[in-house]
Amino acid sequence: MRGKINHIGVVRGNQVNIALAAVVGFLVVDMATRTATSMAYVGGAFVAAAVLIGPEAPVGGVTGLVIHDAFHGAIGYWTGVTTAWVLVFTLVVMWLTNGLSNSPKRQALKPIHRLAPAYTGITLIGGINATAFAAWLTMVLGAQRFYTAVIGFLPGVIAAVGLCMFGLVAVDVTERVGRQVGRTETRGHPLFESEAPGRNRDAGPTDTMAVGVFAIGTGWLLGVSALDVFVHDLGLYPTASEFSAFVTGFLGSGSPIATVVTTILLGVYKYGELAVILSAPVALTAMLGWCTYHEQVLSSTAHGVGIIRGGASDD
């Protein structure tokens, strides 16, 4: 019974925090619109607040954003896409942070000079994946090209990293000052300190998983951006036959290499847009597959490398 009451108290506390964050979020969004500040910076601030304060901050922040746009009668694709960007960013950061705060590595990361690079990496991984997803969503909703949306969101990732670092350093300085003046009790941080000691939380991602997610996300973001720019420029040729005539005139048609390159470029012309649209399902499947089967992949790779180095295996 007492556990149930405690649970209700925690839920109510979260609701109050989210409501407060929504009010703050509304005000911040309103100030940003009046000063023509990009919403990517505001979103980055919400994500940094997730690291420094807790996940209620971005949830409340995007609630404030939606209320702001609804209040001004200006709900549009930008509302949904920015909300998705902040939430995905926060989810990835929390997922990766969970891996830090539930392992012995947390103690090793206690000094700020180790904590700051770790959180820079975490925020970058979250930002890259969230930006790729939000850009894809923007394109699917028919609002912008993938690469223009990426250009719009990337400053927010930099803002999130910068604000996060600033906040971590500020917390560290506060703790040091507190110790200097004799206050031994400093309040633990929800994301980079264990929130409830002894509580059995889910095991977070391993370093290998994080590296894989970073690699897949970076490939998704940069590869699809480059492909989208290329496909966009190919659109200057109204028809495939005109483009084919240009490529043939440029490369010639005699050599087999020219034929192969022409075929590939024509394929990009015809199916490039489709490839950009399919990039998200492919990338998400790759991430899911990596997180599920990375151990098997790595062990089989190590086994293969061992065979190559050591000759034929015994079995």
Binding site: D30, T33, R34, A36, S38, M39, D69, H72, G73, A74, I75, G76, Y77, W78, T79, M139, G142, A143, Q144, R145, Y147, T148, A149, I151, G152, H232, D233, G235, L236
Partner: protein, 197 residues
Amino acid sequence: MTENQPESDDGVPSRRQFLTALGGTALAAAAYGYGTDSGRSAAAGSATPSSTHPASGDHIDALTAIASAVYPSDVSVERSFIESRVFGRVEPEPDHFEKLVAAIEAVDNHARARFGGRVTDLSAGRRRQVLQSMGVTTVHPAADGTTAEQVRFYVVNDLLYALFTSPVGGELLGVDNPPGHPGGREAYQRGPGGGER
């Protein structure tokens, strides 16, 4: 009756008919204001407004505001110019004006959502930021593309077309006779080298 008619019966117009026709033509030309466009201000000029465009006054105001961000800074835009040159011309394609109005509304909505006011309430610099944040400045125009590409196609291209087919735009380019504007009476009175004939 036939004796009182001054005209000849062989189908050749009489002197009175000829003078009447000439006077009517001169009056029509004067009323049309042929060759009277001049100055650096993009004013209404000579186009006759179309009576069937879907744009309201707000749309024309918004497009005028966007034009101030798209046009060079030394060109001042007047509402009448936009009304006559953009919405007053013959519709290039069916539903072109409807899509232009939709693109204007997209820009205006984005300005209200992310810049705190209608595009008419913002400064020229902020209006440029609105177009940049929509991705309009980095895409190619496409009639059936994304919202940004449609804004580029319908709004930006129409504004540039209106400017550069007007005498002011022609002056900016150093072209007296841009396509769509024959250059006025003065252009025909100059010799090939620019001097008086």
